[in-house]
């Protein structure tokens, strides 16, 4: 397959500055050179391409929109474009970078002590340490406020008990950011648990048909004792993990477009060369053009949404409901594009000679994690009606 030329129907690129275009170009080239040639094998074998971690670190992908500690200090739009390209490669790879950057580096950066920041951020930025984010529990997904994991203070130690499930990078993490209720009125706070801490176990979830090139784990804490200094001192209340999710969701909003672009581009090439009936390319049929036109139209609308939310974020004005609309819409565009592309490829759409079925399966996870599609609708609904409809 030739190098990916991008999807730009309305001179979208004229809205980007040179830094943004160059950041996207680096990620695009990285995906074409390093990811696409190996990803189907990893997906088939359900292994994470860990050899890419040092290269991604060198390119500056981890914590790219944070300041200091070796981070690239890119704008949020540039960061988003990098996420788009990574997810054009694979949602699992993008998930890795999202978790490392938005769910591990960001909370340490935002809620951490100076000691925590100077210890962990350079290690995480350079890929020498890997992190995970433990919020979801077996019984509490959309409603993390119900969590039962508890942290009890004993002298200069905290003792944690509880179970976390569906945790990306869990078993490969050197440091886990774990959220637990404290004795202070059940206030949720963040804790750093290092690999190998007694009472802390991580295990892999097997049998996944989605995000197979990404590690998903359970974390189990049984009288897990950590130094009190491992509390993220500035974290306080459910708002803290939700702030992290907001960072990650923003990147996912761009990522969904990347997966959509991969499917659209593949389907377009396929439809122009595949012939059925009178030796005519299937792209010559109205029903096929309808699908392709739908995809490029939704991708284009999604680009404008992502860009505007990115510009707001760079101006410090992106609200969580803006990000909800971005995540909800663009992941849906990705998933629907994958389904339409699958249809256009006919039987070829179900095999991993093409990227389609992998993206489609991956996007089922992305549709659910970081706030399900419907939960984001409720967030938007609350914003416009003033009435929360969750419970």
């Amino acid at each position: 397959m030739p190098a990916f030329p991008g999807v730009d129907f309305i001179e979208f690129d004229s809205l980007l500055n040179d830094e943004e275009k160059l950041a996207r170009q680096t990620a695009r080239q990285f995906v074409d050179d390093e990811v696409l040639p190996i990803i189907e094998k990893h997906n088939r074998e359900a292994t994470m391409p860990t050899h890419l971690i040092p290269l991604m670190a060198d390119l500056g992908f981890f914590g790219a929109n944070l300041k200091g500690y070796g981070c690239a200090e890119m704008s949020n739009v540039a960061y988003g474009l990098v996420m788009q390209e990574l997810e054009r490669g694979d949602s699992g790879l993008r998930s890795f970078v999202s978790v490392q950057s938005a769910l591990v580096m960001y909370p340490i950066y935002t809620f951490g002590s100076d000691a925590q920041k100077s210890k962990w951020l350079p290690l995480l930025q350079s890929g020498k340490a890997i992190g995970c984010f433990g919020l979801t529990e077996p019984q509490f997904g959309s409603n993390p406020g119900g969590m039962t994991t508890r942290a009890v203070k004993k002298g200069d130690r905290y003792i944690l008990n509880g179970e976390k499930l569906w945790i990306t990078n869990g078993t490969i993490a050197d440091v886990s950011v774990v959220w637990a209720k404290t004795e202070d009125n059940d206030r949720v706070r963040g804790f750093l648990i290092e690999r190998g801490t007694p009472g802390f176990k991580a295990y892999d979830i097997h049998g996944k048909w989605s995000l197979r090139a990404s590690v998903t784990s359970g974390l189990s804490m049984t009288d897990c004792e950590i130094p009190a200094a491992n509390l993220l001192p500035e974290s306080g209340g459910l708002k803290s993990p939700l702030m992290c999710l907001n960072q990650a969701r923003y990147g996912i909003g761009w990522g969904g477009l990347g997966a959509a672009m991969a499917c659209y581009y593949t389907a377009l090439q396929y439809a122009k060369t595949r012939t059925q009936f009178n030796n005519k390319p299937i792209a010559s049929h109205q029903l096929v053009q309808d699908k392709l036109a739908w995809m490029i139209t939704e991708i284009t609308k999604g680009q404008l949404l992502a860009l505007q939310v990115g510009r707001l974020k760079d101006a410090g004005r992106a609200e969580h409901y803006h990000v909800s609309m971005l995540k909800m819409n663009n992941v849906w565009v990705g998933l629907e594009s994958a389904r339409k592309a699958r249809d256009i490829l006919g039987a070829n759409g179900i095999v991993d000679d093409y990227c389609i079925i992998r993206h489609m399966n991956n996007l089922e996870s992305v549709y659910t994690y970081e706030g399900t599609h419907d939960i984001h609708k409720l967030i938007i609904g609350e914003r416009i009606t003033g009435i929360p409809a969750y419970a």
Binding site: P2, P5, E11, E19, A23, G60, V82
Partner: protein, 256 residues
């Protein structure tokens, strides 16, 4: 060792090209542009020479405002500064006009080595580097595969026809045209991209260089080759058909 690299920005490889009716150039709106591939190898070679021998690398590009992105890309990869020879009607220049303009800009400074790509992916004249050397009164060598610098001289490996190579010696300063594929160009890292924002790009309007760039040759018209489809069934036994096929691939398709 101070090295200038001439870098052209060309239409992106898979850009859907449109030619205006009777046009001598493509429609430039609506398509992406990228660094001319051979020039990317020239830049990488310059950066490696700098890493070995010190000095600075200067990226020079001529063209409209958009070529700044190509200069920034070079600076993001490690070039120390850029020179932008500004010309909105750059595409109308012939190679001599381009070389004269570049030479005038280069003569404002003192470089030990000037690198260009072998040819550009758009017009593909393959002339600019050679003309540039002549105008600067410097020795030149083309299709360079390897550069070794020692005691102010260079050992150069050139590609010849049919898998042959040639080693030659050349003094410095000189102009070299670099062959594609001689190294693995580095990525622009995100930190490099941010660092490039602080590097300087000197803008020189081409008109201010005082060179006569009246074209000595003119592109009359460009067009997409008319597609002709001819199917021929090769007959005979498998052995005979294969022999005929090989003949055709050799002499008609010229791919063997």
């Amino acid at each position: 060792m101070n090295i200038a690299v001439c870098i052209k920005q060309v239409p992106a490889k898979d850009a859907p090209l449109q030619i205006p009716e009777g046009g001598a150039w493509i429609r430039e709106t609506d398509i992406g542009f990228e660094t001319n591939e051979p020039d990317g190898y020239a830049l990488e070679e310059a950066l490696r020479l700098k890493e070995k021998h010190g000095g600075e690398v200067v990226a020079i590009s001529m063209g409209p405002e958009r070529v700044k992105q190509t200069i920034k890309e070079a600076m993001a990869k490690g070039a120390d500064r850029g020179i932008h020879v500004v010309d909105d009607k750059f595409f109308q220049l012939d190679p001599l006009g381009s070389a004269r303009s570049l030479a005038a800009a280069i003569q404002k400074e003192k470089f030990d080595l000037i690198l260009t790509g072998l040819q550009s992916d758009d017009h593909g004249f393959g002339q600019t580097g050679v003309l540039l050397a002549e105008l600067l009164g410097l020795p030149h060598a083309t299709i360079i595969m390897q550069i070794e610098v020692q005691d102010g001289r260079m050992r150069l490996k050139r590609e010849l026809e049919a898998g042959w190579f040639q080693w030659m010696e050349a003094p410095l300063p000189a102009v070299l045209s670099i062959q594609s594929g001689i190294n693995k160009p580095r990525y622009a890292t995100l930190k490099g991209i941010m660092a490039a924002k602080k590097k300087e790009i000197a803008s020189i309007p081409r008109a201010s260089l005082g060179v006569d760039a009246t074209p000595t040759q003119k592109v009359e018209r460009i067009y997409v080759p008319a597609k002709t489809k001819k199917t021929e069934i090769l007959t005979g036994t498998a052995r005979e058909a294969a022999a005929k096929l090989v003949e055709k691939l050799k002499h008609e398709a010229r791919v063997l």
